[in-house]
Symmetry: C2
Subunit: 386 residues, 2 copies
């Protein structure tokens, strides 16, 4: 029985994770749930999964939750400290890290330090602190299993093939809702339009990241650290149907690909059952019903975020964390209709240009870089300089 803590249980990935746990009650148990703000859904989850501990970010929400639980049921922690305490509890084997954004870093890193296996959906953890995370994971002997259709596909395509024969990986990207839009049309894109992802049903942050292709940028950085690759071993190809989730090429020219219908249940299940494939009751992929899979080069001019990510990972040190922090502010500002769609990359670029890179040997330095980036991005926003 794998005892699981879900960080971000009320989010899109968190909910899918609980569905996977539900499908395999003899294998998995959700012993701890941590959520941001949605106490109504958390209450439903508590009733259904009977966790021993829950956590919620804000203290006043935690108080309301305790009151509604009538002081029976699970213990209720709160705040970042509460998340860390929950993720490092003795009774937890595996932490599903499914919080959104940079907030996932601290509890995830703490869980690794505590020797917990990680199923990682929070790509910001790897983007901001990849080398630190991988070093710590190695030191603690814990496994980090990606919950991302792309990284899960790479992981699956690496199984059984000698690592030294790998030549490159090819990450697929749907291209997002603006794949066919002109630069001029993109300039006027609204949050509502950007939130309409063609294939995946996801949270707002990641949906905007998909529209700007920053999501692929974050993924290429994550892939670099997770699979120990050089940047030039990572290719991006646009694949609008999101059926081929990603690929690995070996030096004989053979490409191993992983495919499936676009549903996060699959990578979540694989991350928990690795290297087994457990029953998921997902609809089978029938390629002869789908008919056509298409592939094209990404347009780096219209999707500048992708270039920014390649640049950030090549500069390294504090730069990826800065790029990520600036991106979070930019996405938030776009969702609040404070900036236009194309200004997302503009704001990130300006923030990166203003940054003096420094090395990040400790997690505190990463958090400092993130904080700096957010402040700088807000300052640029105020001054209108983006």
């Amino acid at each position: 029985m794998k005892k699981i803590a879900v960080l971000g249980s009320t989010g899109s990935i968190g909910q899918s994770s609980l569905r996977v746990i539900e499908l395999n009650p003899e294998k998995y148990k959700a012993v701890a749930l941590a959520a941001g703000r949605n106490i109504d859904l958390l209450l439903q989850q508590i009733e259904k999964f009977q966790p021993e501990v829950v956590a919620i970010l804000e203290e006043d929400l935690a108080e309301r939750l305790r009151a509604r639980l009538n002081h029976t049921g699970p213990e209720v922690y709160s705040g970042e400290d509460g998340f860390v305490r929950l993720a490092t509890m003795d009774l937890v084997d595996t932490v599903i890290s499914a919080m959104t954004g940079a907030a996932g870093l601290v509890p995830t890193y703490a869980a690794i330090e505590a020797g917990k296996d990680i199923a990682l959906a929070n790509k910001e953890t790897m983007v901001m602190a990849g080398p630190l995370v991988m070093d710590q994971a190695k030191k603690q002997g814990v496994s980090i299993m990606p919950i991302d259709s792309e990284h899960s596909a790479v992981l699956q395509s690496l199984q059984g093939h000698p690592r030294e024969d790998l030549s490159r990986i090819i990450l697929t990207a749907s291209g997002g809702p603006f794949k066919e839009w002109t630069l001029e049309e993109m300039r006027g894109a609204t949050p509502e339009q950007a939130l309409k992802h063609p294939n995946w049903n996801m949270g707002p942050k990641i949906s905007i990241d998909s529209a700007t292709l920053m999501n692929k940028g974050l993924e290429l950085i994550e892939a670099k650290w997770l699979f120990d690759l050089n940047t030039d071993q990572i290719n991006i190809v646009i694949h609008p149907q999101s059926i081929v989730h990603s690929m690995v090429e070996y030096r004989d020219g053979s490409i191993i690909a992983q495919m499936g219908i676009p549903d996060m249940i699959m990578p979540i299940s694989y991350a928990l059952s690795f290297p087994r494939h457990e029953e998921t009751s997902l609809t089978r992929l029938e390629l002869d019903e789908i008919g056509t899979l298409s592939f094209e080069k990404p347009d780096l001019e219209r999707f500048e975020c992708l270039s920014l990510a390649f640049r950030a990972v090549e500069v390294g040190d504090s730069m990826p964390a800065v790029m990520n922090g600036a991106n979070e502010i930019a996405v938030e500002s776009f969702l609040n209709k404070r900036i236009g769609f194309l200004q997302i990359s503009g704001l990130i670029k300006k923030t990166m240009e203003a940054h003096q890179t420094y090395s990040v040997g400790r997690i505190e330095k990463v958090i400092e870089a993130d904080k700096w980036a957010r402040e700088k991005a807000r300052e640029l926003l105020e001054s209108g300089d983006y």
Copy 2:
């Protein structure tokens, strides 16, 4: 150093095999070459690869070869016995079985009995005598590595994933040159038209088998035995670009696929280097340059051979050997313009219908079934009853 015997060295697969050997002179050595009739090419190969033994099918050709070698260079064997002797020599580690048709069975089976590892391009060996071959291979502890883009793809897609989690395999078929032809147009198809395969450059027998889809029928039977599958675990999908070479689906719905440019160098190299991927200098597959991959259901009405193969393997025992024997006669008759294209399946069907199935516990019984089928098919040809 892997010491290799190539059966069928002057054929299409044989020549590609020698190219793979040439690419890796520190790993592979061609110590024995066996050819059908092409002594000019065999002489060139002898000069280049300096084998210790060669064999040629007909005794008078062997005499001519000995004369032209001026009694220096390799020993020259002849006939089926010569092939068997060559394939079972002590100095051979691995036999590449690349002869065309049923003629490959006896030397390949003898090589297995002699404990040689097999790289198998001759699918008829598995079609005719799959259970016997697999039993004998198990007994001798030898490996049978497929040299077929489809079976190599399945093998590659099985690596690192638990066998018990497999749900089905999906073999891809190009659909051949008549994919878009009407039944009426196919009736008038000439050998020249049938020989024009859209993606693969192959010998005449396999090209016709690709045009009738019997090639896929043979492959599904081969796959059943090679990978120990039930017939209902084998799906066929038409994929005109021949880029996805085949796929394996696991029970979580995840599909692992192997892709590459259509070149036999890749499966040959993998069969010899398994589980490694050695450098092949093949052109890289760039999906964003290819653009589109398409998939459709096979039309069992226009391509009756596929149904015949499913039927043959379900009946089992001597029936697959009979189907294969009848197919060889039918293809030969079509190439000689004695029968029309659609009559290929007609002749096979009639032969199968006339057959009283019996169990084939020994290789002699398989050969008997093959012989019976050829005689029956010729008899039906004579009488015009097909």
